[in-house]
């Protein structure tokens, strides 16, 4: 790891800002799923690139933490690499790509395939914290609906989907009920990942920088995806095996390989895929580890 940059406070944010964010986090943990406003700061990256997540990570990061950052499950995409390097330079913390080794995981759009542990914190980057925003334009009204636990409108959306498409057509950012009380947006993770939030041993923190909201799910909290009795929640997954490691139980990305319709389905969680290949698993289009 490179030495910490001079002239910046530990983890970039000043201590008063971190204190303010931690107070919001404490409140968020105390009321699972409730959106707590906070004074979001300008960060050295554009809105939509994870300004909320990066502020939450900066506030919970300690000198001994090991940080992993993923973007759509991958450790090697621009956003993930940049944020990982940002904290390596401003906080001097150790970074890793291994889910096992990390104590803090900042994520955009995925939850790692590997089951998280009690000593880990997962920080989600959230573009839009309000699950009702497409249905009810007024924020005053949505706040009232949260206050009164009045969520019939969300079911109207599910009803409309079933009436029109025969099934619920939400494939990501699938709304959940947290602790039987608050309707919550799980951030744009695929609905495939929704069941992982239920009774997760790790602490889950959500930061929305542009919208200036923080919310959280404490460990071992009930998280249910909304559904109808006769149309139960169903996680969607491409019906293929990973081309590189052969996994049939992980979430897959579709990669276009040429301009003649060629495509490859691979695990979106790169760490999961690498680990499987190291143990000798090979998919249809993969090459055995030893040959590389």
């Amino acid at each position: 790891m490179s030495a910490r940059m001079q002239g910046y406070n530990f983890a970039y944010l000043d201590e008063q800002t971190k204190r303010m964010i931690r107070r919001a986090l404490l409140k968020a943990v105390a009321i699972p799923g409730h959106q707590v406003p906070f004074g979001s700061r300008e960060m050295p990256l554009p809105y939509g690139w994870g300004t909320g997540g990066i502020q939450v990570t900066a506030s919970v990061l300690g000198a001994n933490d090991v940080l992993k950052v993923i973007d759509q499950g991958a450790d090697d995409t621009t956003n993930a690499v940049s944020i990982r390097r940002f904290f390596a330079r401003t906080a001097g913390v150790a970074t890793t790509t291994h889910t096992d080794a990390a104590t803090v995981i900042q994520t955009r759009h995925r939850i790692p395939e590997k089951q998280l542990r009690e000593d880990q914190i997962i920080v989600y980057q959230v573009p839009q914290p309000e699950p009702l925003f497409r249905l009810e334009p007024s924020r005053a009204e949505t706040r009232r609906m949260h206050g009164l636990s009045d969520y019939g409108l969300m079911h109207v959306k599910l009803y409309e989907d079933i009436a029109r498409f025969g099934q619920v057509s939400i494939s990501y950012d699938y709304p959940v009920m947290v602790n039987h009380r608050y309707l919550m947006s799980p951030s744009p993770i695929p609905s495939f990942d929704n069941p992982k939030m239920h009774m997760m041993p790790a602490l889950q923190l959500f930061g929305a920088g542009r919208e200036k909201r923080i919310y959280a799910i404490p460990p071992y909290t009930d998280v249910r995806s909304l559904d109808f009795d006769d149309h139960p929640f169903r996680a969607t997954r491409a019906p293929h095996a990973c081309g590189l490691c052969g996994a049939t139980d992980s979430y897959l990305d579709e990669v276009v390989t040429d301009d003649r319709g060629g495509r490859l389905f691979v695990c979106s969680d790169t760490d999961h895929c690498t680990e499987r290949r190291e143990t000798g698993c090979v998919g249809a289009e993969g090459v055995p580890e030893a040959a590389e």
Binding site: G147, L148, S149, D150, Y151, G152, L153, H155, V156, Y159, E160, I162, A163, R164, D227, F228, D229, D230, H231
Partner: protein, 258 residues
């Protein structure tokens, strides 16, 4: 106060600045009864409706409602969640403009089903069956269930709004000029529908209208308002056939005879 009344208001007063919107208004409504509130524009009819339904607070006075368990509750002292639950289940509100109540981007079936889902119905097939039954009840073709309200005519929209309101079998419905803005033949059909539904499900209705004919057709009792005051009240036929107050006499005599 009468023991059986469903809704009772005593001494309601409300001023908008110097304008008296309500002055010491008393109203009683019995179960299954249709009460018409008539008067000219600006006489405080709609304000009275809003205050009775708890949507607007009065300066003075109290509104009592008898809940299904027989307890009297003060509508304006209720906590907000309880009032909202009441509005979503036991009460209904039919607006003059159906677009104020309907969700225009949601299909007819979703509009009718919303109140059921807000009450906790979580079985898709049952919700859909109930929505379809209510569309038929208000004479909308069942195969329009997945159409958006914006493809509906004005009369159909109003009927859809009524289906959406009645789906939870409310005991009390507030109607604000339900036939306003519709042409005469559509009005007649809608009035007929309201009258038969109200009688079949014995729903109590507070009906605001400026149209004496609507009041005569639907209402058993009538309240005549002028400048925020109740000037005359009684059985509809009695008041309209033998008006006592000068303003009521003016109102009745000003109806054009076709």
């Amino acid at each position: 106060m009468n023991d059986e009344s469903l809704l009772s208001a005593r001494g309601l007063s409300l001023h908008f600045g110097a304008i008296p919107a309500l002055v010491d208004v008393d109203v009683d409504l019995w179960p299954g009864e249709v009460l018409a509130i008539v008067g000219e524009s600006g006489s405080g009819k709609t304000t009275l409706l809003n205050v009775l339904s708890g949507r607007m607070a009065a300066d003075a006075g109290v509104v009592w409602y008898r809940d299904p368990a027989g307890r009297l509750v003060d509508v304006h002292a209720m906590p907000a969640p309880a009032l909202r639950t009441l509005h979503r289940s036991d009460w209904g509100f039919v607006h003059q403009n159906p677009r104020d109540n309907l969700r225009m981007a949601v299909s007819a079936g979703g509009n009718v089903g919303e109140r059921l889902m807000a009450q906790g119905a979580r079985h898709y097939a049952n919700i859909r069956a109930e929505a379809m039954r209510w569309l038929e009840e208000v004479e909308i073709d069942a195969d329009r269930i997945d159409d958006l309200p914006r493809t509906f005519s004005g009369g159909m929209l109003q009927r859809l709004q009524i289906a959406r309101t009645l789906v939870t079998h409310p005991r009390l419905v507030f109607m604000d000029e339900p036939t306003g803005g519709l042409d005469v033949s559509v009005q007649a059909r809608l009035l007929d529908l309201i009258r038969s539904l109200v009688a079949r499900f014995s729903i109590a209705v507070v009906l605001v209208t400026h149209d004496i004919a609507v009041a005569r057709l639907l209402a058993q009792r009538i309240v005549v308002m002028q400048r925020g005051r109740v000037v005359e009240t009684g059985l509809t036929d009695q008041v309209l056939d033998d008006p006592q107050h000068p303003y009521t006499q003016l109102l009745v005599s000003s109806v054009l005879q076709a």
